[in-house]
């Protein structure tokens, strides 16, 4: 990915800024301009609390180019407290310990390094919710 593509996504990657539909109140992540529920414009920013639970997960053994060094790593669909689902990696957890329904929370982590002279990409991953915040 080129620099502007990463830069444009900083609010989503670092702070989980989505949108709320002014018409029907649906919370949307990722932001998408037109609410899929009522087809009205949705353009009011809404910051998600970063907590949710695992809806499904998979441990990847054959990675796409750029992610080979992380193998095996676990990705998940996380159902956020506010409703929408998000796709992300899980971190700070052994693959064998992951369960559907497991409470998780967003953390900021290194996603990818584009070579020695390239970008270091940060973004969200999810870890098992700590007791204090669960």
């Amino acid at each position: 990915m080129r620099i502007p593509r990463h830069w444009r996504l900083q609010d989503q990657r670092y702070r989980m800024v989505g949108e709320v539909c002014d018409n029907c109140g649906e919370k949307l992540f990722p932001p998408r301009d037109i609410c899929p529920e009522c087809s009205k414009p949705a353009c009011t920013p809404y910051t998600f609390n970063g907590r949710g639970e695992v809806y499904s997960y998979s441990t990847i053994y054959q990675a796409p180019e750029g992610f080979e060094e992380f193998v095996p790593y676990t990705v998940a669909l996380v159902k956020l407290d506010e409703g929408p689902m998000i796709t992300a990696q899980l971190t700070d957890v052994e693959a064998a310990e992951v369960r559907i329904g497991m409470p998780v929370e967003m953390v900021t982590r290194r996603m990818l390094e584009e070579g020695e002279d390239g970008l270091i990409i940060y973004g969200y991953k999810f870890r098992p919710a700590l007791a204090a915040t669960a």
């Binding site: 990915m1 996504l9 499904s56 441990t59 053994y61 180019e65 990705v75 796709t87 973004g123």
Partner: protein, 385 residues
């Protein structure tokens, strides 16, 4: 609207074609089709392809292939809808003939995948998913299907071994198809022990990548008999879409675009699932076969794997599936796959499927899926010869 029929088919073996470039593969399929029936004039060429730019270093396939097969000057474009590109090209060809814009159209699909290494191909295939919010997180295309499969197993109490029958059936049928990439039997035991790709999807849940091309020639049904004794009529052609990202669907366990697409097709063809004699599913992964059988009305929600046995989906079963090997056994040259499915239906409906012939078949259906269900193309074909 004019009635449309397929008058000719062509295909290459799905394989690692080290000696052949993308254009040669496409030409092999198109020239084979024209050798079967050549109307003497072609008005348009639609080329289904997904990742030629990423993997084969070539775009602009419409003009490139038209010129290469001797059709310089003809209307020609590439059609892209991820793994659904092939059937989408057939759909556009159908629309051009049905709408009266063209009389004779070639719809082809081609993919050249072995010029790149595994990681490059894995990354290219992941372009079918949401770039900003799925693949940028490190998801492979296999892992997106794995998310579906894991949840499916959880929600419906299904075990991994329950999917084995889809792979066993596909490979059994591939043995009788000279164009199949892997014409070898697969046992349920081998399925259980195969190498993990993206848990719970293992190697034998997955279709293999390969090089291949397939083509059909379409024309108005009223002209078809001038060129062939065995025209196959297009009863229905329908495309529907869903969100590209899995996370944007309320109920990922229901392939909504497959449902919408097949309902339109049933309605156009004025038939019900019970009228279908064979069904070419998009079995890129075993979970997709199960979800499709449910979306198309052959199984109740959560019960698709109950059909994964010979008595149901075998050549002599209730609803034969992947009759020439499917994506699993024939191979999955992604942008060509949808055209292979149509070509194989035509073989069956003409009675030219050899040892894999489904007896007394009159109506066949093919469903080609782009991404994890975001584009779904359904065709229903009928023997009229």
């Amino acid at each position: 609207m004019r009635d449309v029929s397929i008058i000719a088919i062509g295909q290459t073996k799905v394989d690692e074609h080290w000696g052949k470039s993308l254009r040669h593969l496409a030409a092999d399929a198109i020239l084979a089709a024209l050798a079967e029936a050549n109307p003497g004039r072609i008005d348009a060429l639609y080329v289904g392809n997904m990742i030629s730019g990423e993997v084969a270093g070539q775009e602009h396939l419409g003009a490139l292939i038209a010129d290469f097969v001797g059709l310089r000057g003809v209307e020609a474009v590439k059609v892209e809808a991820a793994c659904g590109s092939g059937a989408a090209a057939v759909r556009l060809g159908y629309a051009a003939v049905a709408g009266g814009l063209c009389d004779f159209v070639i719809a082809a699909g081609v993919e050249k995948m072995t010029d790149a290494n595994g990681g490059e191909v894995t990354a290219a295939l992941a372009l079918a998913a949401d770039g900003d919010y799925e693949t940028s997180q490190g998801l492979s295309f296999v892992s997106i299907n794995a998310l579906l499969m894991r949840r499916y197993m959880y929600e419906f109490g299904v075990k991994h071994e329950d999917f084995a029958g889809f792979a066993v059936n596909a490979h059994k049928n591939a043995i009788g198809n000279p164009n199949a990439m892997f014409p070898y039997p697969v046992t349920a035991q081998a399925f259980a022990k195969a190498r993990m790709i993206a848990d719970p999807i293992n190697l034998l849940d997955s279709s293999p990548i390969g090089d291949g091309a397939a083509a059909v020639v379409l024309c108005p049904t009223e002209m078809a008999r001038q060129f062939t004794e065995k025209p196959v009529r297009v009863m229905a052609s329908a495309i529907a879409t869903d969100s590209v990202a899995l996370h944007d669907r309320h109920d990922p366990m229901a392939l909504q675009a497959a449902y919408l697409s097949v309902q339109r097709a049933y309605s156009l063809a004025k038939i019900t699932p019970g009228d279908i004699d064979l069904f070419e599913t998009h079995d890129a992964f075993t979970i997709m076969a199960a979800l499709e059988l449910e979306a198309c009305g052959f199984a109740q929600r959560g019960q698709g794997t109950r059909l994964a046995q010979a008595g149901e989906i075998g050549i002599d079963g209730r609803i034969p599936v992947s009759t020439m090997g499917g994506l699993k056994g024939r191979g999955h040259p992604v942008g060509a796959t949808g055209v292979y499915q149509i070509v194989e239906l035509v073989q069956q409906l003409r009675g030219e499927a050899g040892v894999n012939q489904v007896k007394d078949c009159r109506i066949g259906m093919a469903q080609n899926i782009g991404g994890s269900g975001a584009t779904v193309v359904t065709h229903i074909l009928e023997r009229i010869g």
